[in-house]
């Protein structure tokens, strides 16, 4: 035994605090885990979605492509239509850009600004992006438009996940 004796009062303080702590943790742990579940659940890898766009109809001019898929939101499933701006680069690569402005999430339009017909334009705060989705310096957005992964099958365009520019 060490010379430092634990008094009866100290012993009771420690044990009661410990037991109380365990009881509080036992109560709170399930509730906190319950609340943060969406953060820890992780995104499910979504499959490629078929669009109605034929690959051969794509040009170097960005085309608006709407595509529908079944979205699962917790207990609620619904048919959702999203949009992409798709074009072919000069060397034949297909680029599909997300229309969601990286400033505050409005929807950008190709050539929406008459003074910059060869750019994407966000009407909310006049954000602009060049054709390859890069944000124009001096306008509100601080990063380039997101990019969809693309796939060709039977001459039809398939769109996959939306990823930050440079990761797709």
């Amino acid at each position: 035994m060490s010379k430092r004796n634990v008094s009866r009062r100290q012993f009771l303080n420690y044990t009661l605090t410990g037991v109380g702590g365990f009881m509080a943790a036992g109560m709170l742990m399930p509730m906190v885990r319950f609340a943060v579940d969406p953060v820890l659940a992780g995104g499910s890898e979504s499959d490629f979605v078929a669009t109605k766009q034929k690959i051969k109809d794509l040009s170097t001019e960005p085309t608006r492509v709407d595509f529908s898929f079944t979205q699962v939101d917790g207990w609620y499933e619904s048919e959702v239509t999203n949009t992409a701006w798709v074009y072919k680069t000069k060397d034949g690569k297909i680029v599909a850009l997300s229309p969601i402005c990286k400033h505050l999430g409005c929807t950008v339009d190709w050539g929406g600004d008459k003074e910059h017909p060869e750019q994407f334009f966000c009407p909310c705060h006049y954000g602009r992006y060049t054709k390859d989705g890069m944000n124009v310096k001096g306008t509100p957005p601080i990063s380039p438009l997101d990019v969809f992964t693309t796939k060709e099958k039977d001459g039809i365009l398939y769109l996959g996940q939306r990823k930050p520019h440079g990761e797709a």
């Binding site: 609340a35 943060v36 969406p38 953060v39 995104g43 979205q71 939101d73 917790g74 207990w75 609620y76 400033h103 505050l104 999430g105 939306r162």
Partner: protein
């Protein structure tokens, strides 16, 4: 009759000191508009509380009809506003009160600021007041989504984009608030409802209690 009931209870529980302690205190002359009309500036804190009480009551009654479900939320708001007697009034109280409480709180803050009433020994009460301000803004923000119309949805999308832009913890915070990493939908609405109706009011009550206890303990700051 009422006196007899009161006396019967008081004889057994001695409740008189409890409320006398709260009710018996003099309003200093310099904060009484009857003496100096300019003292009306001292009313804004009380008005903030008054409107907060209206918000709590009208909100409690709104939940008798409202459902936080994406298929029915908008319909239930439409129904309670247009079909239920006095629905327009009750929802109107909650709608306009939400803006008014911010205005009153802002005026109260300005008075405290320009009179220097936040100075020692009342620094802690200022800090609690600022926390109450944040809670009120959060209440306004979460309540905005609940009618589930276009304005509500897109305002919330913008809010979540702002949260998302916070360095490092932004994306996790956004998912925690929205209930899903990419969708603003069913889980977002239930979350915002729970936060608006249970979590934030609980925090608000605790902070208001601290705010009022401190002002009773320290008293209103002296005249300029």
């Amino acid at each position: 009759m009422l006196t007899k009931i009161y006396d019967w209870v008081d004889e057994r529980l001695d409740i008189t000191p409890l409320w006398r302690d709260i009710a018996d205190h003099e309003v200093p002359e310099h904060v009484n508009p009857a003496h100096h009309f300019s003292a009306f500036v001292y009313c804004f804190g009380g008005l903030t509380f008054f409107i907060t009480v209206i918000q709590i009551l009208s909100g409690m009654f709104l939940t008798m009809y409202y459902v936080p479900d994406i298929k029915n939320a908008w319909e239930s708001v439409y129904y309670l506003q247009n079909e239920v007697a006095f629905g327009q009034i009750v929802r109107g109280m909650h709608h306009w009160g939400a803006s008014l409480v911010i205005v009153m709180m802002f005026l109260h803050t300005l008075r405290v600021f320009f009179q220097g009433a936040y100075k020692k020994p009342r620094e802690l009460n200022w800090i609690v007041g600022v926390l109450i301000f944040f809670i009120m803004l959060a209440l306004g923000l979460t309540g905005y989504l609940l009618p589930w119309d276009m304005k509500a949805l897109f305002a919330t999308k913008v809010t979540l984009t702002i949260v998302d832009s916070v360095p490092l913890i932004g994306p996790a915070m956004k998912t925690l608030i929205a209930g899903d990493a990419t969708i603003v939908g069913a889980q977002t609405l239930t979350r915002f409802f729970a936060i608006h109706v249970f979590f934030l009011p609980a925090a608000l009550f605790a902070l208001l209690a601290a705010h009022f206890l401190m002002i009773r303990k320290q008293g209103i700051s002296g005249p300029l």
